[in-house]
């Protein structure tokens, strides 16, 4: 697939359809690929990579890219197309300035899951019939492929591309994923258990803002938490609950717009399962306002931006909160 992508990128650059290409660039190791913009066929030939470790969602970069002159070719996985549509809907991406090639999605691997098995000194990772053969400084190791699949792919919601100009490979379907199972477990806890769970997870936060900065739903020009005039701008927590508030507020702000792309949890240096906060909102919206998938198209009115006579009443919060 990487060869087909490189070939197409070079063709579209050569015939002037686009003047640059956003993709992933090879790194020092087998897993540290960086999102990058390519402008020459030579650069693409030498450095472009797309494999089981190119997880990063490129859609948010198109906010910045489409402010520039010219047209950019973007390779989008199915999940990335939802983020793309949502950003088009919010008038953050100029659709006319992007040529979208849909590419098959994962499952992508999470190198941290390999390292968590105690495998260190990783030199290469190869998938042979869904067994990962890992060459390390300390000899060969192997592990089942599916044990190293990233969280966002393990609970993939859709293999369907909701937007594209052309496809490489085949389009898939919306999947019946088990992505709400963990949310249900949390719902079935007592309030105290749930509180303890989130306190323990969120207190690991180091306020690096990686979740916010990678999030395609967080595209404010100036985040309230970065604005010294806001009164809540802080690099440090004033008390031990503040990191918790930061994440709760962020989850509220992206509610109804989060497509569940999973980038927040992927980038968290402290492995906080932030996506569960967003999934709880998605699940609630589905239950209270009817099934809704943000980014599915660019035209639907979002439930939280709309009003219908049969919308749930505000007291639902109270009713659902009773144990």
């Amino acid at each position: 697939m990487q060869e087909a992508m490189i070939k197409r990128a070079k063709e579209l650059l050569a015939d002037g359809t686009v003047d640059r290409v956003i993709g992933w660039k090879k790194g020092e190791f087998v897993y540290d690929h960086t999102p990058a913009v390519f402008t020459s066929a030579q650069d693409i030939e030498e450095n472009f990579v797309c494999d089981e470790l190119t997880s990063a969602n490129l859609s948010k970069y198109l906010v910045k890219e489409t402010v520039r002159e010219g047209k950019v070719l973007a390779f989008l996985k199915p999940c990335d197309t939802y983020s793309f549509n949502q950003l088009v809907k919010e008038h953050r991406i100029d659709r006319e300035k992007v040529y979208v090639i849909g590419i098959p999605g994962g499952p992508k691997l999470d190198i941290e899951k390999i390292k968590a098995k105690g495998i260190t000194g990783i030199l290469s990772v190869k998938n042979e019939n869904y067994t990962l053969k890992i060459d390390t400084l300390y000899g060969a190791s192997e592990m089942p492929f599916y044990e190293a699949v990233s969280e966002k792919c393990a609970n993939c919601k859709s293999k369907k591309h909701v937007v594209y100009d052309e496809l490489i490979g085949e389009d898939g379907d919306v999947l019946d994923s088990g992505r709400f199972e963990t949310v249900e477990k949390l719902e079935n806890m007592t309030a105290q258990e749930r509180y303890d769970f989130w306190r323990s997870e969120l207190s690991k936060c180091i306020r690096c803002n990686a979740c916010r900065n990678v999030c395609p739903a967080c595209t404010c020009e100036k985040c309230v938490f970065d604005n010294p005039s806001s009164g809540v701008e802080n690099k440090a927590a004033a008390d031990s609950f503040e990191e918790n508030m930061f994440h709760i507020i962020r989850a509220f702000h992206v509610a109804g717009r989060c497509t569940d792309c999973g980038e927040c949890s992927r980038v968290c240096p402290q492995n906080i399962p932030l996506h569960l906060l967003n999934r709880k909102f998605i699940k609630d919206i589905n239950e209270l306002y009817g099934t809704y998938q943000a980014g599915e198209n660019t035209t639907d009115k979002a439930p939280l931006n709309d009003y219908k006579m049969d919308d749930c009443e505000a007291n639902v919060v109270h009713e659902r909160g009773v144990e």
Partner: protein
């Protein structure tokens, strides 16, 4: 002198240290990552090469209260609200993090001395741990660090069946004297083999040839004006992950917090990646992410050595290589900017 604590006596060893002072050891969290935690009975020492957060937290915590102010009429009362620091021991600090303390010392213990930092340094005893399984992301040797001889007040050398302990300072000797009953003379044959093996692995690390030759104060203008920064910083998210997991990042901000009853002045880690970093009355000297990104690497590779006899502000721990959300890091920067 080399004395050994065997694996069977490790719990006793930790217990007897923690009976006298707070002891912190790296432990595995449920999510598989390691972090330093205050030792309580039954805690198990992590086998991880490194903790997510570095050991700098012990001397330079993420937030720290400095002073409190209270107004009464036209009088302002200023209170020193620093917390009393008691003696503590950090066990299991790797050579990279141990070197980071030297770097922080060069910032905080020079005139004007930072009394908060100094106080913590004086109360802390550092027990380092020699590395046996360096990772592909390790490059401490590029900065002259020998991870098999990591220094600190005491060095622990694992031989697969416990640790040999060596005191390097007076503080270290005191710590060992206190637990001397638990130690025994051990055969160092296995240890020598372990060390030899580690040295061989170090030579084979993918980043073993990383060179610092091209960096330092002499190339300031050339490096500052390099056209490579645009490409390198292009996909930087502007988050603070690299700076907050970094053992040598030392910048902080001072802020006032209105408690409703007065003002508490505190400091907190700052990140040059953030948009309000070094924001002053006239505005912000670095308005683009390119400039902020460049600042981080120029500081470590050019400004710091220029001011500190050539010593670089990086210890090669590899945390930024592992944790950057977009996998951009100091190694990629060095390779892009080096003169071949």
């Amino acid at each position: 002198m080399f004395r050994k604590i065997t694996s069977e006596k490790l719990d006793q060893f930790f217990q007897s240290i923690s009976a006298k002072q707070s002891l912190y050891i790296p432990v595995d969290r449920e999510d598989g990552a390691a972090e330093f935690r205050k030792y309580t009975n039954g805690m198990k020492l992590s086998n991880a090469l490194n903790t997510v957060r570095s050991a700098k937290d012990f001397f330079f915590p993420q937030t720290e209260n400095l002073a409190a102010f209270k107004m009464e009429g036209k009088k302002i009362e200023v209170k020193d609200i620093r917390e009393e620091c008691e003696d503590f021991v950090i066990f299991g600090v790797r050579g990279c993090d141990a070197r980071s303390f030297d770097i922080l010392d060069k910032v905080y213990l020079v005139d004007p001395v930072d009394s908060f930092y100094k106080n913590r340094r004086e109360h802390g005893t550092v027990v380092t741990m020699a590395c046996t399984h360096p990772s592909e992301t390790c490059f401490c040797t590029a900065f002259g660090i020998d991870p098999t001889m990591p220094g600190g007040d005491v060095t622990a050398f694992p031989d697969g069946d416990g640790f040999f302990l060596m005191a390097n300072t007076e503080k270290g000797e005191k710590l060992i004297a206190d637990i001397n009953d638990l130690l025994e003379d051990g055969d160092t044959e296995k240890l020598n083999a372990v060390q030899e093996n580690t040295r061989n692995v170090l030579k084979k690390l993918p980043l073993a040839d990383l060179s610092t030759e091209s960096f330092g104060g002499e190339r300031l203008n050339e490096l500052f004006n390099s056209d490579k920064w645009a490409g390198l910083s292009e996909s930087c998210l502007g988050c603070g992950t690299c700076t907050f997991v970094c053992p040598t990042c030392q910048c902080y901000d001072i802020k006032d917090f209105n408690t409703g009853d007065g003002i508490v002045r505190f400091r907190c880690w700052d990140s040059c990646m953030y948009s309000d970093f070094t924001k002053m009355a006239h505005g912000n000297p670095r308005v683009s992410q390119l400039e902020r990104f460049r600042q981080r690497f120029m500081h470590k590779l050019v400004y710091f050595p220029a001011n500190n006899n050539g010593e670089f502000g990086c210890v090669g721990c590899g945390r930024c290589l592992q944790k950057c959300p977009i996998s951009m890091n100091i190694v990629k920067v060095m390779k892009a900017l080096e003169v071949k």
